[in-house]
């Protein structure tokens, strides 16, 4: 549960499929245009799934469904790509090691 002034993320559908631009590929046209915004919760308390209002960091008022009570980033350095080790070794070998 989040309390007033907690920093949360909300989600909202901006355009349902029928209201979207006509010039879209089929697989996009059948999906809604969705939006995510973060801000300070205005309700006294709320849970994920509740309709809420937030005030964003620029002071905008935004409404939507509470989707994340503790928004944070999880992007990473990925898993090992062994081919990159090969490339690094190869170019050093060619320039500094003598190819033969």
């Amino acid at each position: 549960m989040s309390k007033k002034n907690d920093y949360v993320q909300i989600h909202r559908t901006v355009l349902t499929p029928d209201l979207r631009s006509k010039n879209l590929p089929e697989e996009t046209h059948t999906k809604p245009l969705e939006m995510w915004v973060k801000g300070y919760l205005q309700e006294e308390s709320a849970n994920v799934g509740d309709s809420v209002t937030v005030i964003t960091r620029t002071g905008r008022v935004a409404q939507g469904t509470l989707c994340d009570e503790a928004p944070h980033f999880e992007h990473s350095w990925g898993k090992l790509i062994p081919e990159l080790l090969h490339v690094g070794d190869q170019v050093r070998e060619i320039v500094f090691g003598g190819e033969e």
């Binding site: 879209l24 809604p32 245009l33 905008r60 992007h75 350095w77 990159l84 490339v87 690094g88 050093r92």
Partner: protein
């Protein structure tokens, strides 16, 4: 009074909203026919090149190093015929605040926004430009909203774009994230109307004039350090602003280097496709933007785009995703420079182009970009693999965008493939003259400038098109 916020109603208010949000009346440059006064529009920023250099200095932007890539040049020479292999240089634009040349593009806009009394700026971008606007807004004390196309309909974000969101937030901006689709522009218009903020468009004259300092610096630094002008300058190309500004700056310095555009080949992938959004490993510097923006520059978020790359481009080449990843790894392993892959698109092209040139010639890649979690070859290739893309060593010619990424088995397999510029010139002339029956002399001269050709070329093309 409540305004109609439907898609059609907001789009119909586009020009009115933009006029308020850029503080420029674009209609005064129109001729009423095909032509418009491009140079008049560029001059109306009111800033000279010197003014812009000084503005950028206030933001600690510019004067980045040009680094000679001696080991990468040695590698190119190992792959080239005897006597071939030009010296390769890179301008280390990643050392600008916010980590890319885009800081130059943001600075003049934000300086102008501040001067005109705007309280904040909005930028529609999923790329480095967002961070640049956020950083310059932070310095200028303006509020900043960055609007990104970030997720597919499963809610999965492109790691490169998620990292940009993080960086923008770290620099104090509000980040609004959307799913795939060009209606992002609709959301931006609503926010511009709601906030009264400045539209820090990538394509305004302020943005492009800001990049002129990059080209100008290349000429000045080269003359100072190497006593010569570069023979070739390669620009990674997407919306065309990077190339346009750089070329204009080089021209202002009187430098006649050949200007080459380079894009990652994403042939077959639709940029508005929800399914294909996460099947590409480059979110910029690719043909999906490069081709349409070159042949129809006014598709941007301002009525007339200041980015008009066909006016300046001498050659346009494409490279494959795997080749850019390879060269990014080579740059780290051979030169100790760990940079983001998208900015290395031109470097992959230059690696091949250098092999066509003599050893005593010089080729300059005019940018690098920062790297970090998400926007680094390792997470990007890892993400590709997780999305079912085949990643392997092999012959890059076999790469199919959206299906495979092929890291060259050997650096001699890296190639820059020429795009038919005449075909692109024809497209531009066709796009610009659609619906016009009686072209004026001014129109013909305009189209010649737009395509870097002459009146005879334009007249001949028009004959062929009709």
């Amino acid at each position: 009074m409540t305004r109609d916020m439907s898609y059609d109603a907001v789009m119909a208010r586009k020009n009115e909203i933009m006029k308020k949000a850029v503080g420029m009346d674009f209609s005064k440059y129109e001729s009423g026919s095909v032509a418009f006064d491009y140079e008049g529009m560029m001059a109306d920023t009111g800033y000279t090149l010197e003014d812009i250099i000084n503005i950028q200095k206030q933001f600690a932007i510019g004067d980045t190093h040009i680094i000679e890539l001696k080991n990468l040049t040695a590698l190119a020479r190992k792959c080239a015929p005897a006597g071939k292999g030009a010296r390769i240089f890179v301008k280390d634009e990643a050392t600008n605040p916010s980590g890319s040349f885009k800081a130059r593009r943001a600075a003049t806009s934000i300086y102008q926004a501040k001067k005109m009394g705007y309280k904040g700026a909005i930028s529609a971008t999923s790329g480095n430009y967002g961070a640049a606007v956020a950083a310059t807004c932070a310095m200028a004390g303006l509020k900043c909203i960055v609007v990104q196309e970030c997720y597919d309909s499963r809610g999965i974000g492109q790691p490169e774009i998620v990292e940009k969101a993080r960086k923008c937030e770290a620099l104090g901006a509000e980040v609004v994230q959307l799913t795939v689709g060009p209606e992002l522009f609709y959301s931006v218009l609503i926010m511009l109307e709601e906030t009264g903020y400045f539209n820090a468009s990538l394509y305004s004259p302020y943005g492009i004039a800001g990049v002129e300092t990059l080209g100008y610096e290349i000429a000045q630094q080269f003359r100072r350090d190497y006593n010569t002008d570069p023979d070739v300058v390669v620009c990674s190309n997407a919306g065309g602003g990077n190339l346009t500004g750089t070329a204009r700056g080089l021209m202002k310095a009187g430098c006649k280097a050949q200007i080459v555009a380079a894009s990652v080949n994403l042939k077959g992938l639709h940029m508005a496709s929800d399914d294909q959004f996460n099947k590409k490993s480059f979110t910029t510097s690719h043909t999906g933007f490069g081709m349409p923006f070159a042949t129809n520059p006014d598709r941007s978020d301002v009525p007339r785009s200041a980015a008009r790359p066909m006016r300046y481009m001498d050659r346009y080449v494409t490279v494959n995703q795997g080749e850019v990843f390879y060269i990014t790894e080579a740059l780290a392993s051979l030169e100790g420079l760990e940079k983001g892959p998208a900015g290395n698109t031109a470097l992959a092209a230059a690696f091949y182009l250098a092999q066509e040139m003599d050893e005593n010639q010089t080729i300059v890649v005019q940018e690098t970009e920062y790297t970090g979690a998400g926007k680094h070859i390792q997470p990007q290739l890892s993400f590709a693999r997780d999305n079912g893309i085949e990643v392997r060593l092999g012959n890059p010619e076999e790469e199919v965008p959206g299906k495979s990424i092929i890291l060259p088995e050997h650096p001699r397999l890296i190639r820059a493939r020429d795009v038919d510029l005449n075909k692109m010139r024809h497209s531009l002339i066709r796009n610009k003259t659609e619906g016009y029956d009686n072209l004026t002399d001014e129109d013909i001269a305009f189209l010649a400038a737009e395509t870097k050709t002459d009146n005879a070329y334009v007249l001949q093309t028009l004959k062929e098109l009709r």
